[in-house]
Amino acid sequence: MVDSGDVLIVGAGASGAAVAWRLASAGIGVLCLEQGDWVDARSYPHWQADWELHRAANWSPEPNVRRLAQDYPINDTGSPIAPLMYNAVGGSTIHWSAHFPRFRPSDFRVRSLDDVADDWPIDYATLEPYFDLNDRMMGVAGVVGDPAYPPKSPRQTPPIPLDTLGATIARGFDRLGWHWWPSDSAILTRDYDGRRACINCGPCDLGCPTGAKASTDVTYWPKALALGARLETRARVREITLGPDGLADGVLYHDRDGRLRERKARAVVLAANGIGTPRLLLNSRSSRFPHGLGNREGLVGRHLMFHPYAMVRGEFAEPLGGHRGPIGCAIVGQEFYETDRSRGFVRGYSFQVARGLSPISSANGGLNGDRVPWGRGHRHAYDQRFDRTLTVAIIGEDLPEAHNRVDLDPELADAHGIPAPRVTYTLSENSRRMLAHGVDRAREVLEAAGARAVAVNPLLRAGGWHLMGTARMGTDPRRSVIDPEGRCHDVPNLYVVDGSVMPTCGGVNPTSTIQAVALYIADGMIRRRA
């Protein structure tokens, strides 16, 4: 069937949903194709007694572990960090922890300020109204006044309660005189915009049956659909097609029955994440673009950035109640965020304080992976750990390097025979030094808070939550894939709006910034149409 929607979006996650809503609100016809399906709130593991068992199985954030029908395989054997994602309406916001910091002003000016990588062609001030708009759409719990940022608009609900765990680590930060602040979290602490408040059940990483966590299936999509946007699920796009004028004219995709179909469109928007988007571009070969669409300069898939994570877990003498409340959200610390070359590295990192470990995770070491010893003494060792730990995650700014990349695996393919992505990534010396510095400082703050023992994971393998940089934005077509308006330099009606566009990645979780950029690009589309 040949159809002609106005704008066709590939991917219904964080950025695709935002663009669909924004365009629909301007009266532009939108069709979104999503390879996953809607997630029924009744299907989340939280409703089952064995909910925690699902974390390592069908609710794993790793598609290579989960292996659901809507997933595609990723060859990540060439990377010390495994890419994580979820394929559904809502995308990876289904399983994210909803920690929601923004990039800081300096994050957009790393070349000018620190003589590394590239400046963004847009800045914080340009994005500020889109940060605010996105906050209203997602619903953010937090408290204004954080001196690490320019003043922000009021948060939609009060912050996530710190509880015993948060108050404990806050004392450590205070004793050292370091910056900390209650996290901005895209999780409602009070009813807001037709959604219910969080009930503090804990495992946000397995989805949110309450709807308090801002996955875009409960934030943007209901509003976008009400405005007339259309969404087809279990629709896996195979390639972007070109018309005789060299412009994108639609896509070929497999529908839920596996049939190959064609959709025509006036413009195509890619929102398939930092791995899915370059994969699709590289799979879209033609006589005009024999090496993949938009890849005339060989840049598509290059400059992959992850945010390397180190995890430092402190063990305390008293119960911390860490099983209560949103798993990833308590406190952010940015004492070491801006460049200080005396530390031995450039740029910086954030601390994210996560809550404690649930029963199985306590035994198996959680993200540290250090299992409680087996045999006699297991009980004592387990009791020392359970409900007595908190984790300080170090999230380092990853600088873009051309050799870190996504390309197509020569053998691996998905269920439709579409070549699968291959990830090749090496941790830079700058990142190693940054993480080592962060581990030492995390140890310091935990000990200042009273930790009696500390365990370190110097590089988290299952930590590729943030997929960025693989179709970078810039003004120079020889050094970037898309222009400052989100348009592919080579194909001006082909847009990219996900984390792929980021020239640099800051030292904080990127979703807030990804969505703000997506809304900014959508407004440009609306202006040009007008």
Partner: protein, 144 residues
Amino acid sequence: MSVAGRRDLLAAVLDVLIPAEAGFPAAGAIVLDHVLSRAAASTELDALLAGVLRAVAEAARGGDFSALAVDEREAVLREVERAHPDAFDALVGHTYAGYYSRPDVVTRLGLTPGPVHPRGHRIAPAELPDLTRVTSRGPLYRRA
């Protein structure tokens, strides 16, 4: 190894991994079916488990593993762990998962077993700690 023999040996191994201590039950009787069901659902895990049990039987040097003294059983398993680290680690991981998802074990930990939703958890409302110390430092970001 017969099916019954496999079950008996696995149960004995699980009892060593998590012995009965401080009022908590040993893993053998209560985790056996969990581990076997996981192995039945994964040919990869089934092969790993078979390899571990074969190695345990060999390391027991023809003797009855379950009849050995506790020290000897632990020594056998440490020998198997050294020789087959990945397979043994997988067994330990599944044993812990099965054990700490049991309602009776979760109850002993002081938690309420069962679904976490819609029950949730109550967090007592509390004032935020004083943030004056943090704010008094003034802007910490670079203007750009």
